[in-house]
Symmetry: C2
Subunit: 252 residues, 2 copies
């Protein structure tokens, strides 16, 4: 039988998972942030990543639906508010659609989830199901990729502003807002996990959940790279340049 790690050692173990596996290391992100993406590749990224964004509130609601503690629900609910916004304005999803418009995509097309790569859907849907079905500790631990997000968002804002004409305060407002929101969320989530994962078994489960989540993120970029960069083989039914453009409306 293995023994549990100290709180500090376990936190270091979780952070090492990010250092090794977070999707900031994926070649697609290097391409994107260094200005190497074509407009088509940027659009493909915006369309596919929207699917992930659009499921995050459903994932957070699934978590909420399993919380018996009203205080945990009250703390968690702000994540849904941050993404969905209010009835008439605000929220990360609307901000992402501003980015979609800025790169020449019709937001209705992007919202329709037509053209999203099947591999993206499989990965994202697996994450929603994971949070719905697995122990709460694992579900919370899976959210801890937010530990690694501020660095990638900062690099992304810098890289996009430097290299792409579409980048401005409006189109990048999603990332700027996440810079404020994610640290608050992750401080809460990290403490929650560290407080509860105090046995070898629960620490292993929490680490496995975080690895699972890095896989969810990585698999999306692999699918994107394969379809739109190299070898550039777009699977049947997935988005092709010219579909869903701002000027042409929702493609059939």
């Amino acid at each position: 039988m293995t023994t549990s790690s100290s709180r500090e050692a376990f936190e270091a173990r979780l952070r090492a998972i990010g250092a090794e596996r977070y999707h900031d290391k994926h070649p697609f992100h290097h391409l994107l942030h260094s200005g190497g993406c074509t407009p088509t590749q940027v659009r493909a990224w915006v369309i596919n990543r929207y699917y992930y964004q659009s499921r995050i509130p459903m994932k957070d609601a699934a978590f909420l639906s399993r919380c018996e503690d009203p205080n945990l629900r009250r703390a968690w609910r702000s994540r849904i508010e941050d993404h969905d916004g209010h009835v008439d304005e605000g929220g990360g999803i609307r901000r992402w659609l501003k980015l979609a418009e800025a790169v020449g995509l019709n937001p209705d097309y992007v919202q329709s989830a037509k053209g999203v790569l099947p591999a993206t859907k499989f990965a994202v849907d697996a994450y929603v199901r994971f949070v719905r079905d697995m122990p709460l500790l694992d579900a919370m631990a899976a959210s801890l990729t937010e530990l690694f997000a501020p660095a990638i968002h900062s690099r992304r804002i810098e890289g996009l502003l430097k290299h792409y004409e579409f980048a401005d305060d409006t189109s990048l407002s999603y990332f700027r807002n996440r810079l404020k929101e994610a640290p608050k969320d992750v401080a809460f989530g990290l403490n929650w996990v560290l407080d509860r994962a105090t046995t070898a078994e629960t620490q292993d489960a929490a680490a496995a959940a975080l690895i699972f989540k890095t896989d969810v993120l990585w698999a999306q970029l692999d699918a994107l790279h394969s379809a739109y960069v190299e070898p550039g083989r777009i699977p049947p039914g997935a988005w092709q340049e010219g579909e869903g453009r701002l000027e042409t409306g929702v493609a059939a």
Copy 2:
């Protein structure tokens, strides 16, 4: 094959379900609202009904977790806010705990869900699962008991104020707030259901869902009546007078 009803006829069918089966017709409510309950019976009601209140935000989050439409999520989210309140204040759950204190119960005991009748838990948990698993239309239709709630809340406020010393603006604030919240929610839900239940099959399913929900409410009062009124046979482990009192703290 049966044919579908008109919008008006189908709404009348839903309303007839309430007229026939809503728990305002249950003898326990007649007893409560007419001043016939002993303090012990009022406490038993407050403890058991709290369990229902405490699961409503989980039920609403389960619904939210299945909504792919951000606009539907944005509209639905206020239900969770209404019940849970904010991180530091507000919300129906906190207001219900004020009622618990007013009738001499320790809110920590009530929140612990110790002593709740097993039949109450079975019924309430069945409702949460129903919303998690069934078609969205059925889940929405199940919420339409809110059509019938304002009348019972008004009668309850009047009856409790007239007959019980514990009743005042603070202890009854839960019901006063629901008078404001429920009509807004139910107008949205009713229209949503009427817009979508346009075939005989979907109308039957929505009606069955609403009947299911009236069963969930009725079963809770049957269990309460059986345990604390007549025959007054309290099942093993359920709350007994003297446990969880304000002055004695959380009973072991």
